[in-house]
Point group: D2
Chain length 264, copies 4
C-alpha cells in the first residue's frame, strides 16, 4: 500500500489542510471531511489571541481523526519561533510542529537562515519539525541534515493562488531529498497540486484555495481528487516527452481506401 | 447532476479515450475500465488495414458499455475524410464521427480549411461531427455555426505529451463556444487534463499518455481522478489570484507572546 | 550582409511598425525614426474615414524612406478584404498589402478560412500579400502555396501586450516555412521580440507596445535593439540547453588551497 | 545619463562577463570587446591551479579597461570562501569580490546560510562583496543589511542555459532591494537578459551562453544589444497588459466602404 511516512507515523492522505480564512467553522469542518486530510495545521498564536475565525477552532476539531500540526505563524525570528513552538506544545500536547519564520509581514516569505537555526534548536528539544521554507535545494539538504521530518517548500507566495511558479527549483529539492517534500503555499487549483505530486513531491498543504473558493467543500473534494491523480500518475510512470507529434500507428505504405458509399 | 451533453446523449464521464499504441488489447480494455471513459475513439482505417494493435480491436470493445466514436485518422483532405467517414458509418453503424483532416504526416496537425469543409459536408450527410482542430477561436465559431456537436482543439502536438501549450487560445475557444469543448492531443499527465477542465473545457481525450505510461491501467485511473478534480474545481469556483502574499489572518497589532516554558 | 528579403525587395531592419494609437503624429514620426523600421503599415480604412489619429497620417510619412504597407484592418470577410485591398492600391499606388480578415471585433482574431481565400484572390490580382494569421503551421503552408510573400502569425491577441503565448506553434510555423515569418500582434516588450528572432522568425511587427509606452520614442529604440539582439543570437547559434548545472571547469581533484593571509 | 552604480564606481555597461569555458583566450578577449562589458569575473582558484582555459588568463586581460571581479568559485563553505577571498585580494590587489559558496559540486547551487555568513565577515574585512545567491527575497534583504554592494540571484542552474525560471522570485527581490540586483547564472539567450532588465534588474552576468555559442563574439554583441534593449524598455515604461485584444482605433459605427475598382 502507498502510504506517506512522516517521522514515525503513516498516512493514507497526501493532502494537508490549513484552518485559516474560513468564514465559518462548520464550513471548515465540512471541507476537512471532504478533503480526506489527516493532518491539519493550526496557528497557535491566532488561537491564543482569539483572532478572527480562530475562536473555538481547536475545540471544533475532532482530534481523534486528525493529526494536529501546530504552526508558528506570526514568528518573525528564530527566537520567536522557538517560543511559539514551546507554547504550541504546552497548549496542544503534541511535539509535531510546522515551523514558520517569516520576518516580513508584507511578502510573508520564509527566512532561510532563521528557519535553519530554529529547526536545529527545536529538533534538539525533541520536536518533530516540518519547516516551511523557500524552494532552495541547498537549504533543504541542511534542514534534512539537522533532523527535520520533512521540508515544506513554497510553490508561490502564500495566499496568492499563483500556482507552481518555482517548478524548476522544486524538482531539484525533490531530487536530492530523502525526507518527504510537502509543497506548501501558493497553490490555487487542484491541477497545480497534481503537478506537485507528479514531479515527485510527497504531499501538499492547501488553505486559501479551499477556504476562499466559492464552494469550499466541493473545492476540498476537488483537491483530494487532484492529489490522488498526481500521486497515481507518479507511480504509474509518465510517458516520455517528445519534441514532435507521433501518430498512433505507422502511416508509411498506407493505401488509399475505396469509398464504401459512393461507387467510383 | 453534472452531465456532459453531446448532441442528444449525456455522459457522466468527461474523459474520452483513444485506442492506438497499446501493445496488448487486454491492457487496453483494463485501461478503459479504469478510466471510467464512456466514449472511445477508433481509427477505422487502421482497423480495416489490420494495422499493428488494431486487429480485433472493434470486436474487443464491449459496445454495450461504450459509445463508439470512429475517427478519420489517415485522411489528408476533406475528400478523404468524407470517404473515411462513410466507411466508418458503414462498418460501425454509428453516425458519430471524430473528424480528422491531417495533410502532413510529419507534424500531424489539423487543416483548418479542410476540416471546416469536411464538417459542413458531413453534417449535411447526417453525421454527428466532433472535429479535431487547431486551437483557433474563429474556426471554432465556424465549426459551431455549421452544426458540429463539439469542437476538439489540441493542447500540443499529438502524441508529444508536451501538455497545455495553447492555454491562452483554449481559453478564448472556451469563452466563445456554446457547444462542448473537448481538448484533444498532447496531454501527458493528469494535472494537464485537470487544468483543461478548470479553465472551462467540457472534456478531454487522451490516448498516448495512457498507452505509453509504464503502468497504463494505473495511469488511466490517474487521468480519471484528474478530470474529476478539474471539473469539481471548475464548479466550485476558484479563489481569486493575488499578485502578492496574503496572511491567514490580520497581523496588525499582534502582541509578542510570553514564552510558556522559559521563565522570563 | 544579413538582409531581410520579401518578394523582390530587401531590408536592413527586421522591425516593422504600425501607426495606430499614437496620440500625436510627431511622436509617431520620432518613434519611427528611432525604431529604424523600413516598413510601416497603415490602416487605409481608418485613413479614409478620418479616424482618431489617422487624419493626415499618410501625408506625414516620408515615403522616400519607408516602404508603405497598407492593411485591410476593418475587413470582416474575404470580400471586404479584397475590396479594401483594391482601395488601398488605388489610394497609395503600392501593391504590397498586409491582409487582415477579422470577423469578430471583440477578440480581433484572424479568420483562417477567409484569409486563405482572400490571399488566393489577391495574389491572382497581382498583390504582394503579407497575411496576418493565427499561429497555425498548416495554414502557413497553404498561404505559402498560394503565393504569399510572408506569413504573419500572431504572438498573442492584438493590442494585449501579453507576449509570446504561442511559442510552440510559432516554432512549427518557422520550421516549415520557406518564406519569411513575421510575428505580428501581442508583443509587449523587446525581450519578446528578441525571442521571436531567436527562434527563427525573420521579423516582427509592433504597434501598441511602442505607441502606448510611457516614452514611445525610447521604447522604439528599445525594440530596435531587441530585434537586433535576437537576430544576432540566431546567427551566432545558441548554447545547448542542459537539464542541470555545469561548472566553468572540472572540479574533480581540486585541492584545498592554503589561506594566503592567515598562517596555518 | 543612465549609469550603473556599484559601491563607489559607475559603469555604462550593464552586462558583466565570466571568463570560464573559452577554448581560446583570443576568442575570449574578442568576446569581451564585443560585449561592451566593463566588469569581468575570474575564478582565482582556477587561475592559481592552472585549470583548463585559465593559464595566462589574468595576464591576458587589459585591466586598464576592465574592472576585475575575482570570484570564489570552488569554495564549499563560508570558511573556504573567506580564504579564497583573501587569496584573491592578495593576488589581484582589488577588494571587489564575487562571493560564491557552493557546497554541492553536482547542482552548483549557492548556500544561503554560508553565503550570508561569509558576506558578513568579508564586508567587515573591507571587501566590496557581490554575492551569488538563490533568488530569495528575504536573503537578499539580509545580504543588503550586512553591507553587500549588490545581490546576484540566479535565473536558473549555472551553465544550464535554461533561462529565466525564477521570474516570480526575482521580481520580489527587485521590488525590495535598494542595492543593484545583478542576475547571474542560467541565462542562455539575449531575450532572457533583456527580460531581466525589463523587470527591473540592474545588470546581468553571462558566461556559458557566450563561451559556448557557435560564434561567441557575435553572441557577445547580441547580449550587449539585448541588455541595452531591456534597460531602455524599463526606462521607457512598458504598456499595460490587457487580458484581451484591443483594436488600433474604435470600430463602432464604421460604415462599409465602397469598392473603388469594381463598380457596384
Amino acid at each position: 500500500m502507498d502510504l506517506l511516512r512522516i517521522a514515525d507515523q503513516t498516512f493514507d492522505s497526501r493532502l494537508m489542510l490549513g484552518t485559516g480564512k474560513y468564514t465559518d467553522l462548520d464550513v471548515m469542518r465540512a471541507a476537512l471531511e471532504a478533503s480526506g486530510a489527516q493532518i491539519v495545521t493550526v496557528s497557535i498564536r491566532r488561537v491564543e489571541l482569539g483572532a478572527a475565525g480562530h475562536v473555538g477552532l481547536l475545540e471544533s476539531l475532532d482530534l481523534s481523526r486528525y493529526t494536529l500540526l501546530p504552526n508558528t505563524a506570526g514568528a518573525r525570528s528564530a527566537d520567536e519561533a522557538v517560543r511559539l513552538a514551546r507554547l504550541a506544545r504546552a497548549v496542544t500536547g503534541t511535539a509535531w510542529l510546522k515551523l514558520e519564520v517569516i520576518p516580513d509581514p508584507h511578502h510573508l516569505l520564509p527566512d532561510p537562515v532563521g528557519t535553519l537555526e530554529a529547526a536545529r534548536r527545536l529538533v534538539n528539544e525533541g520536536f518533530t519539525v516540518l519547516p516551511y521554507m523557500p524552494p532552495d535545494p541547498v537549504l533543504a539538504a541542511q534542514l534534512e541534515a539537522v533532523g527535520c521530518a520533512t521540508v515544506m517548500p513554497l510553490a508561490s507566495p502564500i495566499g496568492s493562488g499563483r500556482g507552481l511558479l518555482t517548478r524548476a527549483q522544486l524538482e531539484l529539492v525533490v531530487e536530492r531529498s530523502r525526507i518527504p517534500v510537502v509543497v506548501d503555499a501558493g497553490l490555487g487549483v487542484p491541477s497545480e497540486a497534481a503537478a506537485c505530486l507528479e514531479l515527485g513531491a510527497s504531499a501538499v498543504l492547501v488553505n486559501t484555495a479551499i477556504a476562499e473558493a466559492r464552494d469550499p467543500v466541493r473545492m476540498a473534494a476537488a483537491f483530494r481528487a487532484g492529489v490522488e491523480a498526481g500521486r497515481a500518475a507518479f507511480l504509474a510512470g509518465r510517458m516520455a516527452l517528445r519534441p514532435h507529434a507521433s501518430a498512433s500507428s505507422p502511416l508509411a505504405g498506407v493505401p488509399t481506401l475505396p469509398d464504401p458509399e459512393v461507387p467510383v
